[in-house]
């Protein structure tokens, strides 16, 4: 998925090869991941990106979507070479973007207490070619904290846990000075308790909600009022003639409006920076 291997980089001459992972685009709302084999015949194949992967991955848990993911990567100040800790792994939607941000020299240590989920995530990272950048551990971070060997190593920590405040003291120990933590929680009560716990070790505590709105675009054809004929333009019978009339005289413009149905809430993102000791 990432252009670490130069021979697999996108190029005009690059053809899809046996064993490649591609995303198949069927319609604007249907896509799926396919491992290419010799017999496959399909059009509209794409090289995967973390964004496409988020759209097609199998949901083992509720996942994070692009608006939250992008904001997290930006606010955690991730750049190539960073070490980032994540708990829980879930379906690996965010993990993929974290890996892209820290590649090729950084590392993502991600933990989930669910053994099977961790195993499935490992398989996915194998498939998407990220296994050298991501280590999946099975561990109850709320109960046990992050492992001691990562002490003071992390540039950033991301928590998506039911009781994040239990993991915050351990997260603070893992972070380098001035490192950034993010906690994602769907409920405001979780945010409230997390912020209380954060105050002990962190400064610059800020909570956000970020949502994505999409637009539909089409060509509109609006007739002038003067050319219309009162109620008759609504009558089915003469609609066709009427419309022909309008098309002749009307103005063609491209129009846009927000899509009708949208996600109204995903979760609150709380960011905090480790206090700088004197």
């Amino acid at each position: 998925m990432l252009p670490i291997d130069p021979t697999k980089k996108l190029s005009f001459n690059r053809r899809i090869a046996d064993g490649d992972l591609v995303i198949v685009y069927e319609r604007y709302d249907t896509m799926k991941p396919i491992k290419v084999s010799e017999k496959g015949v399909l059009q509209n194949r794409f090289a995967p990106t973390p964004e496409l992967w988020t759209l097609v991955l199998s949901h083992r848990t509720q996942i994070l979507y692009i608006a939250d993911i992008s904001f997290v990567v930006m606010y955690l100040e991730l750049v190539p070479g960073c070490v980032v800790l994540e708990s829980g792994t879930g379906s690996g939607s965010l993990t993929t973007s974290l890996a892209r941000a820290v590649a090729p020299t950084g590392h993502v240590h991600t933990f989930d207490f669910h053994e099977q989920r961790a195993a499935s995530a490992r398989e996915d990272f194998e498939r998407t070619g990220l296994s050298s950048l991501v280590t999946v551990g099975v561990r109850d971070i709320q109960g046990e904290g992050f492992p001691d060997q990562l002490l003071g190593q992390a540039d950033s920590v991301f928590l998506d846990l039911p009781q994040p405040w239990l993991a915050i003291p351990s997260a603070a120990k893992m972070l380098q000075q001035d490192g950034v933590l993010c906690s994602f929680s769907p409920c405001i009560e979780q945010v409230q308790k997390s912020c209380e716990a954060l105050k002990l070790y962190f400064t610059d505590i800020r909570t956000f909600e970020v949502l994505l709105q999409t637009y539909e675009v089409r060509e509109g054809n609006f007739g002038s009022w003067q050319d219309s004929d009162g109620a008759s333009s609504f009558l089915k019978g003469c609609k066709k003639r009427q419309r022909n009339n309008l098309e002749a005289s009307g103005t063609q413009t491209v129009i846009a409006r927000r899509n009708g149905e949208t996600r109204g809430h995903t979760g609150y993102l709380t960011f905090a920076r480790l206090n700088c000791s004197m």
Binding site: L2, P3, P6, K9, L10, S11, F12, Y25, Y28, N44, F46, A47, P50, E51, I66, A67, I69, S70, F71, V73, M74, E77, V79, P80, G81, V83, S97, A101, A103, P104, T105, D155, Q176, Q177, I188, V191, Q192, K199, T203, R206, T207, F208, E209, V210, L211, L212, Q213, T214, Y215, V217, V254, I255, A256, Y268, T270, R273, N275, C276, S277, M278
Partner: protein
Amino acid sequence: MSSKNSDETLSGNRNPRITWEGCSVLLDINDGDRVLFSRLNGGAKIKIGNKNCSLQPLIGCPFGSSFQVDVGEDGPFLSRVGPASEGNNLGEKMDCEVMEECRDNRALVDNNTAQTLTGEDIDEMRRKGVTGDEIVEALIANSATFDKKTAFSQEKYRIKKQKKYAPRILVRRPFARSICEAYFKKQGEKIGFLRVDTLSLLLSFANVTSHSDVLVLDMLDGLITGAVAERLGGMGYVCNTYCGMTPYPINIVRMFNFSNETCKKIVHASLSELQPSSRSENSTSIDQIEDDSDIGKVQNKEMSSPSTIDLVSNIESGKSIKAGDKAPLDAINSWKENGFSSLIIAAPDLDAWSIAKELVPLLSYSAPFVIYHQYLQPLATCMHNLQTEKMAISLQISESWLREYQVLPSRTHPHMQMSSSGGYLLTGIRITASEKSPA
């Protein structure tokens, strides 16, 4: 570990979490009330209130350190203080008191008699060298109404006075995040009102990562270029393209502490250099773009004129490393042969479609592109045209919505003010034109 941070190891063994002479820093004064960028040179100064302080004491401190203004024998100077403690007190105090708060503001009358200390008194105290914190305490002690306030408004009062009499300066590492936020807050027009959440979406949609070759048309004074270079970490290229003779200015790039490695990967090439030779003479559309770009050029001059803005103090110095050289020939040839791996367009004053028409074909097949605009309409038209011309797929216009919250015990709510427009993104994936899908 940070010592592994590719960028820094390449430029020596410097710890990127500690300031050094000549580095660029973001100074956050009073918890975001004022933000400015500065370069820590010998003579660099900062003006706080009516006092000029040297930034010398900041050199060699860990990023994240706080400073306050103290007055010594040689005048005011910056001294380092521990993490602000007031905020923490607030939390603890609130815990026990907030539930049974019985005080309210029925007895408070706004007649300017509550404070018995006069302006002259305070000036006198300052002359005697009383510290800012002590002045704040004195103001509280001499306020007739302080005790009648709720715990929450007591804290508000304290913070307000502390900001005025004992300002805090926080040293931050400049990242795309903080640079974008600071500009958006103070000089939004300079970066086309691109909000930080929109910028982060843009970088994701464009799949920017190390080893990518990103083509950008950046008329936001280098914000996009810098943000992309930050994600490349010195591996891969960010190539700025332009029409005509002069590349667009990229002043903001100098605010990042980029290593020489990273700077070398920030390059520019004109449109005609990037286009396959057979195409450069044919279409009228290129001329059209050239015409349009005159507007851009006029603006170029405007933008590159030395800025005397609050945001950039001391950044102008010639000592900073140079980014934005001409793209090397072998890189150009490789892009001509293989195509770019992503494309980002941010040109507030040019027609989006006339640019997309020329630049999208320079992308590899299956590579993503993102076009930013602060207005919706130009993107809608562009999207419609890309659709009709069958140049791209997975086309979408999106807008990000961002709301910040105040989180305090029993007093959690969204901020009273929010930005209602952070700009729009048109995203898509380039497809091959030749093969038609079998029905």
